[in-house]
């Protein structure tokens, strides 16, 4: 038997009254638009033609980016809103953990609120009374249950809401990103409760951004994108596809910001002869900062040597901005020197999002002595294995004289992102392995990196 059946559901939200926040009766009467103002004049499709079924006793995880229609889907299943087209059928009692404690009244005590909330969620008064102690225990609020709810902290409030909702004993439990309600201990208790639900053959619909939880916990995953079903099936496969998709769009975003940098680079580099460039050439974005390790992004230098373009790519492939930990990385720097230059150093640095320099080097430090640079040239810096932890990184690229006089300095203008299946921390991942002796045994999930 199916617990949830959604057939070709479409939800079109209607917006009323463009150009004004609220209609007023006064203006409606004055303009004679009473009936017209009650009609929507703009629509927004939150869910487009989505179908899926959840057999009783299964757990479905719904994933997708912000604004992809996940919460709307949940509201449709909960019956809070009706689909514009199509149908939604749910067999059995539903409890929706959408907003915890939504019905609490601040002036009255926790005890009375438990009763009213329980009744609101579909229990009878007697059923609430029978579960009351269990609810209070679960919420860890024994000492405060007779105090008015307005005196509760937000954590207490949420815990009580969660406790009531979960003790409604639903056949179908709908959960919307509500696990962040308590301390570690409470979160574990919630997860245990979910596991117990699963064991007892209840159906769970889980909307979350916590992808590992979907992989571990759900029997199936539904991926929504802009209100459309993009995938449904094995959680590992769907989550993988989703992560890849997110990377692609992050790539596009970084490429766009990169394009802006390139554009401005072009805009500020007039094709003038180098002889006209004075040592104190007015800089476009920033003066050379006094403290090199705290500088904001920018570009400065005399332009006797110019950095025309910087591209990042992985293993000789196309230009990219999102790389995986352990991938090779090429940083290609195209230089142009209108007049021959003999004293130059090419350097670069990698910074993480906090501005910590993860690595920095230049040709001089690595014992190269400059001989000559003229016309167009290209320098490639290859990292065989990008052993960085997950995060966003920025690149400094510079050409300067041995004494530090800058020809062209690009400060934190290039961004790339490192993705990793392993959520390790720090700024650097040394190549490593684990070895275990006899007497210690561990198993490893196949999905691990």
């Amino acid at each position: 038997m199916n617990a949830i059946e959604v057939v070709n559901a479409t939800k079109i939200y209607r917006r009323f009254g463009h150009k004004r926040q609220f209609a007023t009766l006064k203006s409606a009467l004055l303009r004679g638009s009473l009936i017209r103002d009650l009609k929507p004049d703009e629509t927004f499709t939150a869910i487009r033609d989505v179908s899926f079924t959840v057999p009783a006793g299964r757990t479905l995880g719904v994933i997708g980016r912000n604004g992809s229609g996940k919460s709307t889907m949940l509201k449709l299943v909960a019956g809070i809103t009706k689909p514009t087209h199509g149908s939604v059928r749910v067999n059995g009692r539903i409890s929706a953990l959408i907003e915890l404690g939504a019905g609490f009244h601040p002036e009255i005590s926790g005890r009375e609120n438990v009763f009213i909330n329980g009744i609101m969620l579909g229990l009878s008064k007697r059923e609430v009374a029978r579960r009351f102690d269990e609810i209070v225990d679960f919420a860890e609020l024994k000492d405060f249950i007779d105090a008015p709810v307005k005196t509760y902290s937000s954590g207490m409030y949420m815990r009580l809401g969660f406790a009531v909702a979960i003790h409604v004993d639903p056949d179908v439990l709908l959960v919307d990103e509500v696990l962040a309600v308590g301390d570690e201990g409470f979160t574990h208790k919630c997860l245990d409760k979910f596991a117990e639900f699963k064991r007892r053959g209840k159906t769970i619909l889980l909307v979350t951004h916590a992808l590992p939880m979907v992989e571990r916990f759900c029997d199936e995953a539904l991926w929504l994108d802009h209100g459309e079903k993009k995938g449904l099936g094995d959680p590992k496969r769907i989550v993988g596809a989703y992560i890849t998709d997110v990377e692609v769009s992050e790539e596009a975003q970084l490429a766009a910001s990169d394009a802006r940098v390139q554009e401005s680079t072009v805009a500020v580099s007039p094709d003038e002869p180098a002889s006209a460039v004075l040592p104190d050439h007015p800089v476009e974005t920033a003066a050379a900062p006094s403290n090199m390790f705290q500088a904001a992004e920018g570009r400065w230098g005399s332009r006797e040597v110019e950095i025309v373009e910087v591209t990042l790519s992985s293993g000789g492939g196309d230009r990219g901005h999102v790389f995986h930990s352990g991938d090779p990385l090429d940083i290609r720097i195209r230089l142009r020197a209108p007049l021959p230059i003999e004293d130059f150093v090419v350097g670069l640095g990698l910074f993480n999002a906090e501005g910590v320099c993860c690595y920095g080097t230049n040709t001089n430090l690595e014992d190269y002595t400059s001989q000559r640079l003229q016309g167009d040239a290209e320098v490639t810096f290859t990292i065989a294995s990008l052993d960085l932890v997950e995060g966003t990184y920025k690149v400094d690229v510079a050409v300067h004289r041995l004494d530090g006089y800058p020809y062209d300095y690009h400060r934190l203008l290039y961004t790339f992102r490192v993705k990793s299946r392993t959520k390790d921390v720090g700024i650097y991942r040394p190549p490593h392995e684990w070895r275990f002796s006899e007497g210690i045994k561990l198993t490893r999930a196949s999905g691990g990196a």
Binding site: F22, I80, T81
Partner: protein, 272 residues
């Protein structure tokens, strides 16, 4: 629509506990919570008693002595009516959390408002009963038996107004402001601080005064007059037939109001 209406029956328990919660919350706010909620009608009562007994004495009439008691009979149900309307006009907006996050028929909110105010009115009746005993007013038991009918008619009428106002206020937020002004007019257009027979003398039925025609068009006139006839005046409840007409109209109006509410229901979760 009818199915939704029938569904309301299943929510009896919820309505009950919400009404209880509403009253508790109201009386818990302050030590004198219960007293404060009657402060406004009592103040009105004092002011009008003073004005009509000592200032504008020209229209004094022995038939409405003691005047304070006469006025109290009308002001109590009016308070029920007017505060129900004012409160219910904002109830869907303030209860937006419930409509958006909990599976919950929205009409419960205005209904709870009306019922909570009704219970409140019943508390007021206790005070009124105290006054009646104090003045040793004779009460006719057969007239008192009609009392539940008046209350019922008023309940249907008030609920109808509450439904339609709460639904429309979601779309037109200024209804609340307009309403409070309108209710002030309405109060004076209702025979509460003056008796109905000023304009409609039963001893002289041929003399039709235009004010009487206007008063008859005001639905609350019939409620107020019936209340006064039952609780205050001696003699038969002559206004009963008007009350029954109003009852039928109220039921029709209630169905219309529920229909409007039902039509707009799906817009609430998106608009509040």
């Amino acid at each position: 629509m009818l199915r939704n209406l029938a569904r309301l029956g299943r929510y009896r328990g919820l309505i009950q506990s919400l009404v209880a919660r509403e009253l508790k919350a109201r009386y818990r706010g302050s030590v004198l919570g219960f007293f404060w909620s009657f402060f406004n009608p009592l103040l009105l009562l004092l002011v009008y008693s003073f004005v009509f007994t000592y200032v504008m004495t020209s229209r004094n009439d022995v038939r409405i002595e003691p005047y304070a008691l006469f006025m109290f009979c009308g002001i109590l149900p009016w308070t029920w009516f007017s505060s129900s309307l004012i409160e219910s006009s904002g109830v869907l907006i303030s209860g937006g959390n419930l409509i958006k996050k909990v599976l919950f028929p929205a009409e419960i909110l205005p209904i709870v408002t009306v019922l909570a105010n009704m219970i409140h009115y019943f508390f007021g009746l206790v005070i009124l009963a105290g006054f009646l005993i104090w003045y040793q007013r004779p009460l006719n038991v057969s007239e008192l038996a009609l009392f539940p009918i008046v209350v019922l008619v008023q309940l249907v009428l008030t609920t109808a107004f509450a439904l339609i106002l709460s639904a429309l206020t979601v779309h037109f937020r200024d209804i609340r402001d307009i309403l409070s002004n309108l209710l002030t007019f309405w109060f004076f257009a209702t025979p509460i601080i003056y008796p109905y027979f000023f304009f409609n003398d039963p001893s002289n039925p041929d003399k039709v005064v235009w004010q009487a025609t206007l008063l008859k068009l005001n639905p609350f006139t019939h409620l107020a007059v019936t209340y006064q006839e039952i609780l205050f005046f001696n003699g038969p409840v002559g206004h009963l037939k008007w009350l029954l007409v109003l009852g039928v109209i109220s039921i029709g109006f209630f169905l219309f109001a529920y229909w409007v509410f039902d039509r707009l229901r799906d817009t609430f979760a998106e608009e509040v």
